[in-house]
Subunit: 154 residues, 2 copies
DNA sequence: CCCTTAATGTTTAGTTCTAAACTAATGATC
DNA sequence: GATCATTAGTTTAGAACTAAACATTAAGGG
């Protein structure tokens, strides 16, 4: 059983060290995101909180009374996902829904607010730690570029 | 049925427009990642290719004969995930494993190489399009900052 | 008022990923 | 070479997400 089972007639390696600049940037962005996301997930584990749930907790706390659709838009996820997240978090007593017509308004409980406060606090500390490889000026530059890119992506 | 069911005694909104610089950068990075990822996924859909599968195809093609563990490390995913991805892609005839002792070496089929070539081509074009809000100089700066951050994250 | 249209939230099926337990091959030490 | 720890890959259960179909409520136009 040699190579005839698949018929690979090309050279085994295609030299492509020549990715263009936008692609290199994209690849690096993916990697940094994945690493930061994984670290954040680990740091939230002790609160029994996923990154997504933290996002919900945070957004719902910035301005209470938001609807589920507003949350979905802000978090860039589907409304079906928001339903699932809220179901779990409501069951844990972090927040509650208040129906008004066909929309639900989301409010945090005291437990939810307290968890949000503590999670934000430790989260900011760990983010600062992870970003400390860049000087404040560099972080400012990075933020500006990302903001520009974000706005251009509708 | 007023607020007594949950006991929210705090003011309904906590003013926190004052996120610090590292956190602002982190938030923006998340958003840009999510948007780029969603767009990439959409553009790969016509090849019947997920972003993860593309990553496998790409990495396996750069240097053929890699082991599954090497792929997992390079892609920052678990080896269990690699098994699932390879199972599907092997069934579709994009690649094949060759056992050697307790390790598997991964090789692309002709079909896999062809798909990789085409996917990279269209992918680079769409990435260039999405990044076009930044000038080449800005992209270079962004790449440099991300690279620095990536290296600092072990 | 009735009908159509749109918007909100829910459900369901399927995909993608992880963590952890498991199997099997390797290697080190005695 | 027998034993014990390590390493590569597999399996499984469950979490997180999406897309699409569904139900319900609201809004507009005749």
């Amino acid at each position: 059983m040699a190579t005839e089972t698949t018929g690979d007639t090309q050279p085994p390696t295609i030299a492509r060290g020549t990715l263009d600049l936008p692609t290199l940037t994209w690849v690096r962005l993916m990697r940094v995101y994945q690493k930061l996301h994984a670290r954040t997930a680990r740091s939230f584990k002790c609160w029994n909180l996923s990154v997504s749930r933290f996002d919900v907790l945070n957004h719902a706390g910035v301005k209470e009374g938001r609807t589920q659709q507003e949350l979905a838009d802000a978090l860039l996820v589907t409304k079906g996902n928001v339903v699932q997240l809220l179901d779990g978090m409501e069951a844990e007593g972090l927040l509650y829904r208040r129906r008004s017509g066909r929309t639900n308004h989301i409010y945090l409980t005291d437990r939810g607010r307290e968890l949000r406060r503590k999670a934000i606090e430790t989260h900011e500390a760990s983010i600062a730690q992870e970003m400390s490889a860049l000087s404040p000026e560099e972080q400012q530059t990075l933020l500006g570029l990302l903001r520009k890119l974000d706005r251009a992506l509708t």
